[in-house]
Amino acid sequence: MVIPKCAARPDCTREHGLELLYQMIRIRRFEEKCAELYSRGKIRGFLHLYIGEEGVAVGALAALDEDDAIVATYREHGQALVRGIPAGEIMAEMYGKANGCSRGRGGSMHLFDARRRFFGGNAIVGGGLPMAVGLALADKLQKRERATVCIFGDGAVAEGAFHESLNLAALWKLPVLFLCENNLYAMGTAIERHQSQTDIAQKGANYGIPAEAVDGMDVLAVEQVSRLALDGVRSGAGPFLLEARTYRFRAHSMYDAELYRSKDEVEQWKRRDPIAFLTARLREAHQLSDGELAALESRVAAEIDEAVAVAEGGPWEPLADLTKDVYTPQSTVGAGITQATRASRNAVSQPQVTP
């Protein structure tokens, strides 16, 4: 049987192309619903929409294996969805309901699912970078061949933690894919006003880290480079720095007057909408019919309706549980440590970390 190729990229199947489109539409519609629920007061607090940037998460996460880890930011709804955290659990978390993925205690900036190796959700800019290095260090010491993808914005590149983390990961050849979502702004500050070197991929060279910049509005390109990068990362070559050039179509959080950028600039970027881009390419090649697109949309709509129902129907955590989980209950000492982990744990104290 001849498997039809995706018109947009010869090395991927049509089915895969449709899957990528589906994932991007899921994020888009989910967040549009969140925005609506926010204006109805169902969701409160911060809500950082990813609309416009979907190609980055969908492309990069498509290149991951199930047991690879993800470290994200407060703009992480899309990554969480693609990773497979059920939409209902994410929506319930937005509502602050007890059936949310963080029991409703974390909110939109603290989505987390350890079982799916989705390590948050962090409201401190740059906070996730060292954590990703730590996850990768543990994998290396425990001789597990898996990667950690660390997602952060262009704004985080100005933090010391970025530079320290890149150095450490390169020094110890740790399996981290540093993925910068360069949307050209850190809140109201344009990249030219916060970076002396605006070409973020260039920064890898200082640390001897291979790097690449990719068009973040082209999900297929993002996926392709991510795969290549991860091949190297997994083979023990050390970290990789990938800069995805993208743009957020909406305000930084739910509302800002957006006086720091021109309407014209926003419109220019909207013309490069990652969803429209892939849709058009699939259409040109007659690989996506109106009916198929409609079916895809209604599948997404059903999922979102159900997610809202899950959130609406979810319980509030009882007040009696307010002080629960401040500390983790102590497990039995010595449990679960194998000879191999003990040996590698000793290696931590040595300056040289060799696999």
């Binding site: 911060f46 602050g96 509030w316 307010l322």
Partner: protein
């Protein structure tokens, strides 16, 4: 924001004479807290060319809720500038600039982000004067804001000023009225030491009388915001508002609370609080932070040390629940002390718990819930 949420902190709510350590200002022009901060900065930058202002997005059109509005236009991008997300390094930069004769004001939109500046503040700014034998000064102001309510969550809601109170060499101030916002900021800018200037996002909406002239509200002076006889009620930062509301509830049961705003947490005007407790014999301290090792612990400890053997004193602290701030609405509401809970605790101290009194909510005293959007 709704003006009903503001409590007039200047009109004595009963005719009792006030032993206030700081005279209450005479009403004249009314300004918001935001505008008071803006005006203080403006007037000081105008007066003293060594004052500079920076921090993430201070020159953004949003202008840090309006507190820096118009300043870049007036003083230019050399004296007013936005910075990259480099809190740690920028704190060190501020210290360097201060050592070289400038008077920097460094702004952070959340107090939580100050944790990235901790090393420079604690190990360098606080210590330079003493460690270098009194030969240098670090005239630095660090402005930061505490967020509250509407699900701001774990990392955007912390009131961490007690961390700084712990360290000799740092001054800490948490003004609660527009009048004090202006006077304390001018005092902080003129101070030759590092001053942590703590704002609260909800206090930003307060309105009150603010003189146009330059004036200072000096370190080490508290204010009796409303006199009373039965219980001394100290409210820190935003909790000052809740205490003033609690006082109204207590009127209904005939409990007269003396409300004190410490204003400056370091140096702390313990004398004013001690004198009040000497009179009332009861002390409730309500903090906008956790109680453990917090500002409330310090105040209670100092009062107890001073009055032991002199006066029998009953004390109670209230603060954040000892947990991380949750976004779940019911848990979040439980996390913060509010005026009714404060009133009930005061009444318990005066009449004993057996009364089991808990006031019904009065709409005009309802807590302000800060609704975004963010």
């Amino acid at each position: 924001m709704e003006t009903t949420l503001c409590i007039d902190q200047y009109t004595p709510h009963k005719s009792a004479s006030s032993g206030a350590a700081v005279a209450s200002p005479k009403p004249e022009r009314t300004l918001s807290y935001v505008d008071a901060v803006r005006e203080a900065t403006d007037q000081e930058m105008d007066r003293d060319a060594s004052v500079i202002l920076f921090g993430l997005d201070v020159d953004d059109p949003k202008a840090i809720q309006g507190t820096t509005r118009g300043l870049v236009e007036k003083y230019g991008p050399e004296r007013v500038f936005g910075t990259p997300l480099s809190e740690d390094a920028m704190t060190g930069v501020a210290i360097g600039a201060a050592l070289a004769g400038l008077r920097p004001i460094h702004v952070h939109i959340r107090m939580d982000f100050l944790m990235l500046s901790m090393n420079q503040l604690v190990n360098v700014a606080a210590k330079s004067s003493y460690m270098y034998g009194g030969k240098v000064k670090v005239p630095l102001v660090v402005r930061s804001m505490i967020g509250k309510s509407w699900g701001q969550g774990a990392q955007h809601s912390q009131g961490l000023y007690s961390f700084f109170m712990h360290v000799p060499g740092l001054k800490v101030v948490a003004p609660t009225t527009p009048y004090d916002a202006k006077g304390c900021l001018i005092a902080a800018i003129r101070d030759d030491n590092p001053v942590m200037y703590v704002e609260h996002r909800i206090l930003h909406f307060q309105k009150g009388p603010v003189p146009e002239k330059l004036y200072t509200v000096n370190p080490g002076k508290a204010r009796i915001t409303s006199p009373g006889d039965d219980v001394t009620l100290v409210g820190i930062s935003y909790m000052q508002l809740e205490c003033l509301r609690a006082q109204r509830y207590l009127d209904d049961v005939g409990v007269s609370a003396e409300v004190i705003d410490p204003i400056w947490l370091a140096p702390l005007d313990i004398d004013t609080i001690v004198e009040s407790v000497r009179k009332t014999g009861r002390l409730v301290v309500v903090d906008n932070g956790w109680t453990s090792c917090g500002a409330s612990a310090e105040i209670v400890a100092q009062v107890t040390e001073r009055l032991q053997g002199v006066r029998d004193v009953r004390v109670q602290r209230l603060g954040f629940a000892p947990v991380t701030c949750p976004t779940s609405p019911p848990l979040e509401a439980e996390f913060y002390p509010d005026s009714r809970r404060i009133a009930a605790v005061c009444n318990d101290l005066v009449h004993g718990k057996s009364q089991n009194w808990y006031p019904d909510e009065r709409p005009e005293l309802k807590d302000l819930e800060f609704k975004g959007p963010f």
